[in-house]
């Protein structure tokens, strides 16, 4: 059995249906009406030990709800969930021993005590032996620089400091599975890089299984090989990140800065069939769009250099961002990539 397995996992939230304003609220007191909102619908997920999976989708797609069911916090309305041999919502405490959880928008540190004491409390909750606890803290110190944070009271931490401390708190007990729910939200670039480096190191050295939800595509490309895209509670794609890029991020663009406007653009196009030329903002600029599987960047450069006087050029890498944006907008049918 895989480390994490769900079959038909579904969560329905019942929300009161109130009319607008005070009148609606009063009316609701007497005739209670509810609507059922399906947050997660029939999700089948299989995650093997050691995998790093990105779980992405627009706001309200059901990402957090999925994570909360996998962590045993929420009880699924129907379907089956197994994680590391237990049913999380039934054996919540046992499940909690195997997992680390980071919610980017919440902290698991205690607000009123120094970080050091929060960590010490977690050490007792997880029953970590003293020597292992010290060794773990030591090994985290390099990337998270915990030393300076230990004496600080929880509520006085800045967001970046808090996230570093929260990561340490979630991983003290060396969990098999790490759930990260938007771990880099609101962080500046340097902290983001540090967080990503830390997670990558964790995967490489400890073989931790990681499930990550994020809106930051840098996180995904840096950490994950597999991507699961969810929308309106349903999984619309589950597979290799590279395959998504290969299938849907084929188009690459190069931008050239020339000495003079190109004398004969058509001649360039003729040298590398299949490319599309786009005029830049100024006449000395030229953009070339091409399918990276049909035309190589080298060919494009060679063609442009023969026909024009190139000062500078740069290539836009295909970003997973564009793909996901297209998927959200319903422009792409991802089932093609699964085949």
């Amino acid at each position: 059995m895989a480390l994490i397995e769900t079959r038909g996992m579904t969560k329905v939230f019942r929300t009161p249906l109130k009319g607008p304003g005070l009148a609606g609220s009063v009316k609701h007191l007497f005739t209670r009406r509810f609507t059922d909102r399906v947050a997660v619908a029939n999700v089948d997920l299989t995650i093997e030990a050691g995998e790093a999976v990105a779980y992405v989708g627009p706001n309200g797609a059901g990402k957090s709800t999925t994570i909360k069911m996998l962590t045993g916090i929420l009880v699924p309305t129907s379907g089956e969930v197994h994680a590391n041999g237990v049913v999380p919502h039934k054996q919540r405490i046992q499940n909690a021993r195997n997992i680390g959880v980071v919610f980017g928008q919440r902290t698991q540190l205690w607000w009123d005590i120094p970080v050091r004491e929060s960590l010490a409390l977690l050490k007792e909750i997880h029953r970590i032996p003293q020597d292992r606890y010290e060794a773990t803290l030591q090994s985290f110190n390099e990337l998270l620089e915990l030393g300076e944070l230990l004496p600080v009271i929880g509520r006085r931490l800045s967001l970046g400091q808090r996230m570093r401390a929260d990561l340490a708190a979630a991983l003290l007990h060396d969990p098999k599975i790490l759930y990260l729910d938007e771990p880099t939200i609101g962080l500046d670039i340097s902290v983001k890089d540090r967080v990503r480096a830390f997670i990558k190191q964790l995967i490489a050295e400890r073989g931790t299984t990681v499930m990550l939800t994020t809106h930051d595509l840098g996180d995904i490309e840096d950490i994950c090989r597999r991507i699961v895209i969810i929308d309106e509670g349903r999984i619309i794609y589950d597979g290799d990140l590279q395959a998504v890029k290969d299938t849907f991020a084929r188009e690459r663009s190069m931008h050239f800065q020339l000495h003079h406007p190109p004398a004969d653009p058509a001649a360039i196009a003729a040298r590398v069939p299949g490319v599309k030329l786009v005029a830049g903002e100024k006449p000395e600029q030229l953009g070339v769009h091409f399918d990276r599987f049909e035309v190589s960047a080298a060919d494009v450069v060679a063609a442009v250099m023969t026909e024009a006087d190139v000062i500078d050029f740069h290539i836009d890498e295909p970003a997973i961002e564009d793909v996901i944006r297209k998927v959200y907008a319903g422009q792409l049918d991802l089932s093609a990539a699964e085949a």
């Binding site: 939230f13 919540r92 698991q108 009123d112 909750i125």
Partner: protein
């Protein structure tokens, strides 16, 4: 694992120290309430009918009111307030992601808080006694039984407060729940009016509810109106309520978790 609970108790104490200003303002409120009760009952007890009905006089009534004051402060609002807040903001998700029993963790925290509450309440009492004077100390046996009764108030009140916190899984609003709880506890425990002055039918109701054990049982033991086997029986009832509410809270938790909606994603 036991150390984790000890540390939760310490955490409760630390949180009280961190928010001591708020606590002392609340204490001041309770103190004003105590003083108004003092002046009210001093006047009432000039009427021999009250003294007769109660079976005790003004000097004993002072002790009664002070016991009500202490058990009122003990396990007051910290536990359900913090629980409700974490449910309302969704931070309860993090409590659930930890390998620790939620109820036992809250109880441990409450013990730490109760220690702080108890120490301050007793200090305030010492001052009040010094000012108003003339209070009879209990007999040794009554004193011991009274101490046990006071200790048993902690798990009992925890059961009540914890369940009122759990109600927030359904209501998300805490204030109304807390106010109702405090009103019920104040009346049915005998903190406002000794239960013996209730109409007979209401006395019957009060005696089969757990709240009477908060003030009525320890106060009667202290004052010697119940003693020996009778006192032990009421202590047993008090202890049984503590255990019963603990189990009831466990059942309530099982239902509550199914109701859980994590607010704010």
């Amino acid at each position: 694992m036991r150390r984790a609970y000890v540390m939760h108790a310490k955490l409760g104490l630390q949180q009280m120290l961190a928010y001591r200003a708020g606590f002392f303002l609340g204490l001041l409120g309770n103190l004003f309430f105590l003083l108004s009760m003092f002046y009210l009952w001093r006047v009432l007890l000039k009427n021999p009918r009250f003294t007769h009905a109660l079976g005790w006089d003004w000097s004993q009534m002072k002790a009664y009111l002070l016991i009500g004051f202490i058990t009122g402060i003990l396990v007051s609002t910290f536990t359900d307030y913090t629980m409700a807040n974490r449910i309302r903001t969704g931070d309860v998700a993090l409590d659930l992601a930890r390998p620790i029993d939620y109820q036992k963790a809250r109880f441990s925290e409450t013990l730490g808080v109760a220690l702080f509450e108890f120490c301050t309440a007793v200090s305030v009492c010492a001052i009040v006694v010094a000012v108003f004077g003339g209070m009879q100390p209990p007999t040794l046996q009554a004193g011991l039984l009274f101490t046990v009764s006071l200790l048993l108030v902690v798990p009992l009140k925890f059961g009540i407060v914890y369940m009122s916190g759990l109600v927030c899984f359904w209501t998300t609003n805490y204030l109304g729940v807390s106010w109702s709880r405090q009103a019920i506890v104040n009346i049915m425990s005998g903190a406002l009016v000794p239960i013996v002055l209730f109409p007979v039918w209401l006395q019957g109701v009060a005696n089969v509810l757990p709240f009477q054990a908060i003030v009525w049982t320890p106060a009667r033991i202290y004052l010697g109106t119940i003693h020996g086997t009778e006192a032990v029986m009421w202590l047993a009832i008090e202890a049984a309520w503590g255990v019963g509410l603990w189990i009831l809270a466990r059942l309530m938790w099982k239902v509550a978790v199914r109701k859980l909606v994590i607010q704010g994603g």
